[in-house]
Symmetry: C2
Subunit: 404 residues, 2 copies
C-alpha cells in the first residue's frame, strides 16, 4: 500500500478521489500496490462527504507524516502551492501536480530538487488536461530534435471560436455561452487573453528544448479582437481561426514562441480540433509529424492524468525519472524577426490597390466578402515590417495571421 | 557509454544507425550516456558502407559479448528473430524490436522473461510506426479502464483508400500506384487483406486489457472488395471508407475485436487520417476520447520509435518497466453477436422495398447514387442476423459496415 495526500478538494481534487475509487483495482495492478488516500487538505469543511474522515486543514500534518510518499497538489495558483510542494519534496515526498502556473514558473527548480533526492515531480495534467503529452515528450520523442510544437491548448477559447464559426455569433455572445456552461470564468481574461495557453506552451517548450523558457518572454495575443466578420473571411478562405500556441525552432540557435489567433486550412493537423478539445502537433527532425488530441480540461480527464502520474510516481518511488529541463534560460528570438502572411481588411474600395502594392509588393486579392470592405493577403513578411507598414495602410480595420 | 547491437541492416536497421548518428548528442543527454553501436548483424555484405567495420554474420558474437546491454531486433518475421530475441534476454540483454509478428505471437512470453530478469522488452515501433502509442497505453492511460481502441493501423491501405476517394480510381489502380511508390509489397496480401492491422490491434488490445489477445481470434476482413462504386456511395453519404482495426469492451466481460472497412463521417476523430498516416483513437472510462496521429511507417519515423525505446532501455538497465500483459488468454466474444448498421446495395429497383422491409424492418433509403441500383441502410443488427439475411436479399451486390 502506498499512502498519498491530496492538496485541494476542488473540481480536480474530487475527481482524483473519484478516479481512485472507480478504477481502484486496475490502478492497483498497474501501480504494483494499492494507492491509499491518507489525507485530503482543504480549508473548507465537507459535511456528509466521506472524505471528511481524512480531511485536514493543516498541511504540516501531511508534510510531517513519513508514511505519505506522494503528494498531489491540485490547488492551483502560486501561493501557497509553491511552498507546500517545495517543502514536500524537501521532506522526501514525490509530488504530482496539475498546476500550470506553478510548473511554468518554478518547474526547473522543483525538478532539480526532485532529481537530487531521487524523487519525482510530475505534471502531465498541467498541459492538455487528459491528453498524454508531457510523458510522450519526455520519454517517447527522445530520439528526435523537436523542431516545432503547436497546440490548441485552451479549451475555453477553442469552444468560443467553434461556436462563432458554427453559429455566426459574435465574441461576446460566445463568451456568455461559455460562461453559462462553466467553461469560462467570470473573469475570463486568463483564457481569452491567451495567458493560460502561454504558460502551457512555455512548459512544453522547456521540456522539448531542455532549457528554461520563461512565459513572460512569449509574445501573447488572445482572441478578444476576433469578430464575427473575421469568421466570415475565414469561411470565404475555406479556413478556420484557432488560437495557436507555438514554439518553433528555426535553426539550432533560434527558437521563437508565440500565442496568437491563426487562420488554418483543412490540411493542418489541428484543423479538426473543435469545441473544448485540445490538440498538440509536434514535429521532430526524424519522426516527422505527430499529433495528440483529447479533452483539454474537465474534472475526470484531468484527474485521469493526475492519477496516471501517481501510478508512475508509485512505480518509481526511489528512482528519479529523467527530464532534461535545465534551469539554463533559453533566449527566444525577438518576435519582430518572425515571418507570417497576414490577411488585411480595409474599409476602402479596390481603388487603393496601387497604394497597397507600393507597400507590400504583389498581394493576393480576395473577392468581396463584406460590402464596402477590401481584403488582401500579404506575402510572407516579418512582424517588424507588418508593424511598420500597418499605420500606412489606408483605412485599416483589422489583420490576422495566416498559416497556409 | 552503453553498447548496443542491431540485428538486421534493412530499411529500419539503417534508419536506426542514421538516427543515432544524426541526433547523437541530444540522445546522449536524454539517455544519460552515449549509445554506441558495437555490432550490426546481417547475412549480407555492405562494401563501402562505414558499418562494414562493425558488421558480423554470426549472432553468437553478439549474444556472447557481455558488453552488449541492448539488442535491437529489426529483421522482421518470426524465425530466426524469436530465437535471437529470446536468447538475448536469457543472456541478460534488454531487447527493443519493431517486429509486430514477433510481438503479437510471443509478446507475453518475452515480457515475462524480461520481467523475471530485471530487463526490458520494448516494442513501441511495432504499432503505428513513429506514433507514441505503446508507451502512452502502458504509462499514461494507467488511471483508466480502456473501453475502446480503434486504429487506422495500416498506411498502405489508408493510402489506397485515400487515392480511390480523391481520384475516383479503382482498387487495382490504387494498388499499382502504392506499389510504384514502394508503399505496398509485390505480394500485398499482408496489407490489403488486413493481416498487418490484425497483428497490431492484437498487440494494443493485449496491452489495454492486460491479457493475451490472440491475433488468430480476431475477425479480419481487408479492403480487396472495396470498389470505386463503394467510394461513390461514401461520398453521397458525406462519409469516408477506412480500414478500421477495433477492439471494444462492451462490458466487464465482453471484448470483441475486428478488422474491417468502415464508413465514417467527419465527426469521427479518425476521419481526417488520410494518405499513409496512421491514427489511433482510444476511449477510457475516465479520460474520455484521446487520439494519436502520425506517420505509421517509413524508415525514419519507425527508427525514431526504435531509438526512443533504446533510450528508455538505457535509462532502465537493471529495472523492469512494468507492463500488465499477462499470458492469460482473453476470450473474445463471438463476432456474430456484434452489432452494426450496414449499407446494402442491390441491383434492383425500389419496388423490392417491401421485401427489404420484411427482412429488416424500417430501413433508411438512399436517393439514387448509381443507375439501376438501389441502396439502403439497415437498422443496428448483429453480424449473425446480417449473415442469415444476406442470402435472402434480392439482387445483393455488396454491403459495408457503417459507424455513424
Amino acid at each position: 500500500m502506498i499512502n498519498i495526500a491530496v492538496l485541494g478538494y476542488g473540481t480536480i481534487g474530487s475527481g482524483v478521489v473519484e478516479v481512485l475509487n472507480t478504477n481502484g483495482e486496475s490502478i492497483r495492478k498497474r501501480a504494483g500496490a494499492k494507492i491509499n488516500i491518507k489525507y485530503v487538505l482543504d480549508i473548507r469543511e465537507f459535511p456528509g462527504d466521506p472524505i471528511s474522515e481524512i480531511l485536514v486543514h493543516d498541511v504540516n500534518i501531511i508534510l510531517n507524516d513519513p508514511q505519505v510518499k506522494i503528494v498531489v497538489e491540485v490547488m492551483g495558483g502560486i501561493n501557497p502551492a509553491y511552498s507546500f510542494v517545495k517543502e514536500a519534496l524537501l521532506k522526501g515526498k514525490s509530488v504530482v501536480t496539475s498546476n500550470k502556473e506553478l510548473v511554468a514558473k518554478h518547474g526547473a527548480e522543483l525538478l532539480d530538487i526532485a532529481k537530487t533526492r531521487n524523487l519525482n515531480f510530475l505534471f502531465e495534467a498541467s498541459v492538455g488536461g487528459g491528453i498524454p503529452i508531457i510523458r510522450p515528450l519526455n520519454q517517447s520523442l527522445t530520439a528526435d530534435e523537436i523542431v516545432e510544437i503547436t497546440g490548441i491548448l485552451n479549451g475555453t477559447t477553442n469552444y468560443m471560436l467553434t461556436k462563432m464559426s458554427e453559429e455566426g455569433i459574435g465574441f461576446n455572445e460566445a463568451l456568455e455561452d461559455a460562461q453559462a456552461l462553466g467553461y469560462a470564468e467570470r473573469d475570463p481574461s486568463a483564457d481569452v487573453d491567451g495567458h493560460d495557453a502561454c504558460r502551457k506552451i512555455a512548459i512544453l517548450s522547456s521540456l522539448a528544448y531542455g532549457m528554461q523558457v520563461d512565459f513572460e518572454d512569449i509574445y501573447t495575443e488572445g482572441i478578444a479582437n476576433i469578430t464575427d466578420v473575421d469568421i466570415l473571411y475565414a469561411k470565404a478562405l475555406d479556413a478556420r481561426i484557432k488560437l495557436f500556441a507555438s514554439s518553433i525552432r528555426e535553426d539550432d540557435e533560434n527558437v521563437y514562441a508565440m500565442v496568437a489567433p491563426m487562420m488554418i486550412r483543412a490540411n493542418h493537423p489541428l484543423y479538426s480540433v473543435n469545441d473544448v478539445f485540445n490538440g498538440i502537433y509536434v514535429r521532430g527532425n526524424v519522426i516527422g509529424d505527430v499529433m495528440f488530441y483529447g479533452s483539454g480540461a474537465g474534472k475526470l480527464p484531468t484527474a485521469s492524468a493526475v492519477v496516471a502520474d501517481v501510478v508512475d510516481a508509485a512505480k518509481h518511488l526511489n528512482k528519479n525519472i529523467w527530464t532534461i529541463w535545465s534551469s539554463k534560460k533559453l533566449d527566444l528570438i525577438n518576435i519582430d524577426l518572425v515571418k507570417h502572411r497576414f490577411l488585411i481588411r480595409v474599409n476602402k474600395k479596390k481603388e487603393i490597390l496601387d497604394d497597397i502594392k507600393a507597400l507590400f509588393g504583389e498581394v493576393e486579392e480576395l473577392t468581396e466578402v463584406v460590402k464596402d470592405e477590401f481584403a488582401f493577403i500579404t506575402p510572407l513578411i516579418t512582424e517588424r515590417e507588418m508593424k511598420d507598414k500597418k499605420e500606412r495602410i489606408p483605412g485599416l480595420i483589422g489583420s490576422i495571421r495566416i498559416r497556409f
